[in-house]
């Protein structure tokens, strides 16, 4: 019985983690790219990482929170422009290849020992080196608070403050994307996803619309990266290809081209994985699978689930099948 309660607690706790919210922000960005515009960005983790570095290094250099935050946003914009200018004129696959490569380059450069003094090399940067300005902005004061069965520090490293701010951002950005996609701009974006040549024949500058979309989604990726490291630390390897893959999975699970898809998908995704892992721990004897193996098994299940999803429910949990002819 205790075991089941523990699983349920872990699952519910994962749903409100600030890192889950940060991940959702990046997924909302990817959804702008892929779900709404049809852009194959295979390096969303690279946007997170460049935002995270931009922020952490700026704080380390003594800049105030907002300056560092805007530098992170600016880094996301610059990254989008650098990737988009050469590729968005070409067929969709080129963006995919270039984003994979560029995200890896950011990670490799960040890990390079020659940059140890700035990026911390492969160890990354500790949370203490950049989190204080954010904690100092807390409106929640000291002490601990219990809400439902959760008890956390009000401010602290990983407390209510970072949960509140990051989830607030999730809903703010979801609302902004919702409004954008109902605007004339959003209609052009969606029509580009459906048939970009037809949009060209109407005289529209498709390249510039795609570029704008890449920037919007990329900035969300960069902000996601900042919020992802605030309650933890900056580990370059935590924002590698794996992360991009997880963001894609969560977005597709929830439903691409929907507003709540990335949010729902991310929450369900992390909770389900914990459920699989926790249940395996409970019912499978250690002699068959030890703790590392149950974790690996849960990831294998993630892969299988993704395959089944794409085959049987390509529109995701709440997506609209008609809206997603993946003609990219």
């Amino acid at each position: 019985m205790d075991g089941i309660i523990k699983i349920l607690y872990d699952m519910s706790a994962s749903m409100i983690l600030p890192t889950t919210a940060a991940f959702v922000i990046a997924a909302i960005g990817l959804n702008v790219h892929f779900g709404f515009t049809g852009l194959l960005n295979m390096g969303q983790a690279g946007f997170m990482l460049i935002g995270a570095y931009g922020f952490a290094i700026s704080i380390g250099a003594g800049l105030p929170f907002w300056a560092a935050f805007f530098i992170a946003i600016f880094a996301g914009i610059a990254f989008a422009l650098i990737l988009g200018i050469p590729t968005l004129q070409l067929r969709g696959d080129y963006l995919a290849i270039v984003t994979i490569a560029a995200a890896e380059i950011i990670r490799m450069v960040g890990r390079a020992s020659i940059l140890n003094d700035i990026t911390g090399g492969s160890n990354g940067l500790t949370g203490e080196s950049f989190r204080n300005p954010f904690a100092e902005m807390s409106l929640f004061g000291d002490g601990q608070t219990q809400i439902l069965w959760f008890e956390f520090d009000n401010t602290g490293v990983n407390g209510w403050w970072s949960r509140a701010v990051t989830w607030f951002m999730v809903f703010l950005f979801a609302a902004i994307v919702w409004l954008l996609m109902r605007s004339p701009w959003g209609r052009v974006i969606k029509s580009i996803r459906e048939d970009e040549d037809a949009v060209r024949s109407l005289g529209k500058n498709v390249f510039s619309f795609k570029m704008q979309s890449l920037v919007v989604g990329g900035v969300l990726g960069a902000i996601g990266g900042v919020m992802f490291i605030l309650p933890t630390s900056l580990q370059p390897d935590a924002m590698g290809r794996n992360m991009t893959f997880l963001i894609w999975t969560a977005m597709l699970l929830g439903g691409a081209a929907t507003i709540f898809g990335p949010i729902l998908g991310s929450i369900v995704f992390f909770a389900l994985r914990l459920m699989v892992q926790g249940t395996m721990r409970l019912i499978v004897p250690d002699a068959w699978m030890n703790i590392q193996q149950t974790e690996q098994f849960s990831w294998i299940m993630v892969g299988v689930a993704l395959m089944l999803l794409v085959i049987f429910r390509p529109q995701g949990m709440i997506g609209n099948k008609k809206e997603l002819n993946f003609n990219v």
Binding site: R187, K190, D197, A198, S201, G203, N205, S208
Partner: protein
């Protein structure tokens, strides 16, 4: 020598798709305000010629001019902004958007301006124009329906509204009557004859009645080449045209 009065001018235009020579050494001129129909059997190269004029793909050889300036190297969007609008042989509408939204996107300009990131009410004038265009093609009451839910005929009408949305100087329609009922054909002819006199119309149409009724001049394509060109009466009387159409087995 191309001048301002020549809306479209092709000089020795060739188009190859790999081993297939779809357009062979075609030269032609369309005067501003002229109504020209293109006829010819399936695979004659009519749609390909449209695509070359619109800049969908580059010519293999030859040159294309619009209103006296060479546009051979210009991309589709640029040509569209310079006054060229076209429809496609098979509809290419944005099916997940409403009829009105489709027309909205087709309104002129390379973008929509920065205001376009706000909800649509801020662009009231443009929506008025959209409503007018829908009315012109007989879709006044269909504006809020999703294109995927429109009938085939309604979709073709909508394409016309979109083609007209940017106030084009040149209008190119690729088989606009395909799939239309006789009544809808009548409407189409009425609409085409009512177009402002300064619009240049280039029409591909298998329906001979429509093609000959609307046109000042007819161009006959066959097997990639322009084989004949004349007034509707000359085309009606032509033995060559009869031979092609009987030989080609086309209705």
């Amino acid at each position: 020598m191309p001048t301002q009065d020549i809306a479209i001018s092709l000089t020795d235009v060739d188009k190859r798709f790999g081993g297939l020579r779809a357009v062979k050494n075609v030269s032609m001129e369309v005067r501003a305000g002229e109504r020209v129909s293109m006829i010819g059997t399936n695979g004659a190269g009519k749609s390909t010629l449209f695509n070359l004029i619109a800049g969908v793909f580059p010519v293999t050889a030859g040159s294309v001019s619009m209103f006296g300036s060479v546009v051979t190297k210009q991309n589709t969007a640029k040509r569209a902004r310079n006054g060229l609008a076209r429809t496609f042989q098979t509809s290419r509408l944005f099916e997940q958007l409403t009829a009105a939204e489709n027309v909205f996107i087709a309104l002129g300009g390379r973008g929509l301006g920065w205001k376009s990131i706000f909800p649509a009410s801020r662009l009231a004038q443009k929506w008025t124009r959209v409503a007018q265009l829908l009315h012109t093609v007989g879709l006044s009451t269909e504006g809020d329906r999703r294109v995927a839910d429109l009938s085939h005929g309604e979709q073709r009408q909508l394409e016309l509204a979109m083609a007209l949305a940017a106030d084009p100087k040149i209008l190119m329609l690729d088989e606009p009557a395909a799939g239309f009922s006789p009544a809808e054909r009548q409407q189409l002819v009425a609409m085409l004859t009512a177009l402002p006199a300064d619009i240049t119309l280039l029409l591909i149409e298998h329906d001979m009645d429509i093609a000959l009724q609307v046109a000042d001049r007819v161009i006959v394509m066959h097997d990639g080449s322009k084989i004949l060109e004349g007034t509707p009466d000359e085309i009606r009387a032509s033995q060559v045209v009869r031979d092609i159409y009987l030989g080609g087995g086309h209705a």
